[in-house]
């Protein structure tokens, strides 16, 4: 059994070659299912309850965003990007605007970079809180302990959304970034609100962690389940917490700094477990780290302008150079969110010619056929929950 996972498991297994006497049952999970995190559909071929082959079918939320991006100008794109990963809109906006800034060579003021860092970390907290709730909901059931923890994490998420609302006026889908900086400056009392929120969360996080890791059933359900070995994780292009849980020490915040991450120290959590529980551990550690970063930065936001370009007056005031193309990536709560941007589209270059979004969740979903084989139907929801997919980002 020393075969690599890639060689051991064939996601394109021809079922006719499987022993015909093993009467396989095909079970469709989704697209409407309480635990598929939206509208993923997975077709499972079961022998009893054991999965022989799993075929995910994404695309039930394919909204043609890449086509839409070719028709909208760079200024109009930000609110579209909010809706890809609707659990972490803030980092999605940043991914777009960093791509545009790097293509145009625009410098971002230091104050705006600090603000973006704080917002990204707060968004990581909000996103991971929602992940913790839905993950335990999948394991514990909508009527059960998981639901209780989900209610707690939603309660903790609310103050973070309130902080965002103070800054931007929206609970989510903020549209607060623009090329060259931010749109909304920090209001009075915002830093105090953030600090209160972080204190509260820092006090309660150990409780939530404890509810999971001291529960023997939780450990039984997560340890050794959904293993994605390191070489396979790299080949699949898993990024973010999923990759770090497979033992690869790669975090773009530290290794390819953007925002103000080059001015601060980021401790990267890595686990060699490769399984569902390792992904749980990594995300929990990231939450503590995010709280630390926010607390460190919130008092040190430098004074100065928040945007280096003049405010938006018309939708086509930013023009991309023709014939230039580049790949830009930042670290979002789900991993490496990249954009392949080709300049010089419609409206005399105000629109991108092509904007391909590299969604971390899609790569995570591609791991499912490998991670699910040999487990039971119950484990599907645990593995899926631990990969933290957002269907808006998978399907775009």
């Amino acid at each position: 059994m020393n075969l690599r996972q890639r060689d051991r498991i064939n996601p394109h297994l021809d079922l006719d070659t499987v022993d015909a006497a093993a009467d396989l049952m095909a079970l469709n999970m989704g697209p409407q299912h309480p635990s598929t995190h939206g509208v993923l559909r997975i077709k499972l071929f079961l022998d009893g309850e054991v999965i022989i082959k799993a075929v995910p079918y994404p695309g039930y939320l394919h909204r043609g965003v890449e086509k839409l991006c070719e028709r909208l100008t760079c200024v109009q794109l930000t609110p579209i990007f909010d809706k890809h990963d609707y659990v972490a809109p803030m980092t999605n906006e940043q991914a777009l605007n960093i791509a545009l800034e790097r293509m145009l060579g625009v410098e971002v003021p230091r104050r705006a970079r600090y603000m973006r860092t704080i917002l990204a970390e707060l968004q990581r907290l909000a996103s991971h809180l929602l992940w913790l709730g839905t993950f335990t909901l999948d394991i514990g059931g909508t009527i059960g302990g998981g639901a209780s923890l989900m209610m707690y994490t939603f309660r903790e998420r609310e103050p973070i959304l309130d902080v965002f609302e103070m800054l931007t006026g929206a609970r989510f889908h903020y549209n607060t970034h623009q090329v060259g900086g931010n749109r909304h400056d920090i209001p009075d009392g915002w830093a105090a609100a953030v600090k209160t929120c972080m204190d509260q969360l820092a006090a309660r996080m150990p409780e939530y962690e404890e509810q999971c890791v001291t529960n023997s059933v939780f450990l039984m359900r997560t340890k050794g389940i959904g293993v994605i070995e390191t070489p396979l994780a790299l080949e699949l292009g898993l990024t973010g917490p999923n990759l770090r849980a497979s033992g690869v020490d790669l975090d773009l915040r530290r290794d390819a700094p953007f925002h103000a991450y080059d001015e601060i120290k980021v401790n990267v959590a890595v686990s060699n477990g490769c399984d569902t529980h390792a992904r749980f551990e990594v995300r929990i550690a990231e939450m503590y780290e995010s709280i630390r970063i926010v607390r460190e930065l919130i008092d040190n936001v430098p004074e100065g302008p928040i945007c280096s370009l003049k405010p938006v007056r018309t939708v086509n005031q930013i023009k991309l150079p023709e014939g230039k193309q580049m790949y830009t990536a930042i670290e979002t709560p789900r991993g490496e969110l990249g954009t392949w941007l080709i300049g010089g589209g419609a409206e005399k270059g105000a629109c991108p010619y092509r904007l391909k979004i590299r969604p971390p969740s899609l790569h995570a979903m591609a791991a499912l056929p490998y991670a699910l084989v040999g487990h039971t139907v119950s484990d599907v929801v645990a593995v899926l929950g631990s990969l933290d997919p957002i269907m808006g980002e998978v399907d775009r």
Binding site: P58, L234, E235, G237, L243, L252, K356, R358, L362
Partner: protein, 157 residues
């Protein structure tokens, strides 16, 4: 920005693919254009000799020109130890066919299916070249420039 490429890597690439990589001067920041025949060989070299083991993305783009439709397929890899990305482009003609990277990178499975689905680039020898995002019976490739954005689809829209 691809960033500065490791000189050792530059040298080795120039030695192995002398027609593609110049030994001197900056690499094309838009991505080096590689002949389609060298696509798999370059990926294999990068993965096995230079540690570019993280499969990042594949991007197909449609460029309608006066002579006819052309396509570009860009591939992005990353070295997980240095976090250095590396990308190159392949230019294809009106009937886009390119060898698949699936034997090298398991992640190419879905990414190439997605590009086939939306742009219509056919990846040869892919084990399962079906549409990924749209339904199986969909007509046309939405991300081609000739495809109207508001194409109706009765009875739903």
């Amino acid at each position: 920005m691809m960033g500065p490429v490791d000189p050792a890597l530059r040298e080795a690439l120039a030695k192995q693919f002398p027609d593609v990589f110049a030994a001197e001067g900056d690499l094309d920041p838009n991505g080096v254009v590689v002949p389609a025949a060298l696509h798999v060989a370059l990926a294999k070299t990068l993965k096995e000799s230079f540690g570019f083991t993280l499969y990042v993305s594949v991007i197909a783009t449609n460029f309608p020109t006066a002579e006819g439709e052309t396509y570009e397929v860009a591939t992005v890899l990353r070295n997980p130890t240095t976090a250095q990305p590396f990308w190159w482009r392949v230019r294809l003609g009106a009937d886009p066919q390119l060898a698949t990277l699936y034997p090298l990178f398991a992640g190419a499975d879905w990414q190439e299916r997605e590009q086939f689905d939306l742009v219509g680039v056919n990846f040869v020898d892919h084990p399962d070249m079906r549409r990924l995002m749209l339904s199986e019976d969909w007509e046309g490739f939405p991300l081609r420039k000739s495809y109207a954005i508001d194409t109706p689809h009765t009875p739903w829209r």
